[in-house]
Amino acid sequence: MSVIEKKVPLLSDQNLVKKIRRGDTRRFGELIDRYQRLVLHIVWRMTGDQQITEDLVQDIFIKVYDNLDGFRFESKLSTWIGRIAYNTCINYLRREKPVMIDDLPDDSEIKWLISSDRPDDIIEDHDQKQYIHRLIEQLPPLYRAILTMFHLQAMSYKEIAEVVDKPEGTIKSYLFRARKLLKERLTAAQEGVTS
């Protein structure tokens, strides 16, 4: 007997959540598949450690499951999950590295945090990217999270503002300052190499 496989249509977030709430826990795996990239990128950029990232990602998805009944679709599911991921990371970092958490209100302070050491050779594209990634790692967690959500997850200012619980204007300002600083450091490094 031949078996004709029916193509299962992709559920909307709303229907997926409804099914999980009704007890279809297997569907939660689908939710993980859908949002693990978002969570992974936020956590990785904020912690920078593989083992810690895996532990936190696990905690975050369990929190998502435990709190799913309270989610009312007042925001997008991705924003809600992003907020849980961000808050979990912030709480972790507050426990482990309390010095790095506070927001930095002006450019002079953020500049102070990022090393101005120039690499020996960043002529190749790959080296430039590596150098920029090293600079990103030195930024405060909030900046790293915002840069990740905007550039890797293509989230809007409004969505990012909801995730990190800051005004949209602050998000725009942080993005601008972080990118300007990275560009300045890159330019300085390039000039150092060519001079």
């Binding site: 999980i20 709430r21 009704r22 007890g23 279809d24 826990t25 939660f28 795996g29 993980i32 598949d33 693990q36 992974l40 990128h41 990785w44 950029r45 593989q50 990232t53 895996e54 990602v57 696990q58 998805f61 369990i62 499951y65 594209d125 430039q128 990217k129 920029i132 990634h133 990103i136 840069l147 550039h151 890797l152 993005l175 601008f176 990118r179 300007k180 990275l182 560009k183 890159l186 330019t187 390039q190």
Partner: protein, 156 residues
């Protein structure tokens, strides 16, 4: 802001796609080497920011999450279902009480009468005589829950 040059803010907005095909910006860039260089530096920064980090999630993380959420299950009755159950049971018992209607299920009635006799101040006859009105809706609810959770499946 540098006089005669595009601002850093304008250049970032341009790369963010906020000013697509902006003639003023594009014509300025064509004629201004300095702004083109700044824009090129920004392109490199943007490229690095958009590159996915070289990190992969171990497949065991997903399995560990699924293992942790399974045992707890999610058996719960929604407010609507709970209200319907309560309403149905109350209606059945009230109807039985007011009409005096009862169904003799022999041993079943006797069994529940025996159980309920242990409780003080309850009219044993009313409850035991009408126990079927409680059992049937409960049975229906259980079947619906089992169908909903796909523990039992109907074949069409």
């Amino acid at each position: 802001m540098k006089q005669g040059h595009l601002t850093e803010y304008q250049l970032q907005q341009y790369l963010d796609g906020q000013h697509p095909h902006d003639y003023d910006i594009e014509s300025h860039l064509t004629g201004c080497h300095t702004c083109r260089e700044t824009l090129e530096s920004y392109r490199i920064v943007y490229g690095a920011l958009s590159a996915a980090p070289e990190v992969r999630l171990n497949a065991s993380v997903r399995s560990r999450v699924m293992a942790q959420i399974r045992p707890a299950g999610r058996f719960k009755i929604s407010f609507e279902t709970g209200f319907s159950i309560a309403f149905l049971l109350t209606a059945m018992i009230t109807a039985g009480y007011l009409t005096g209607f009862s169904v003799d299920f022999g041993k079943i009635n006797g069994f529940f009468a025996g159980l309920i006799e242990q409780l003080p101040k309850i009219n044993v006859r009313i409850i035991s005589d009408n126990i079927v009105f409680i059992l049937v809706p409960l049975l229906i609810i259980i079947v619906i829950e089992l169908l909903d959770k796909k523990v039992i499946k109907l074949k069409y």
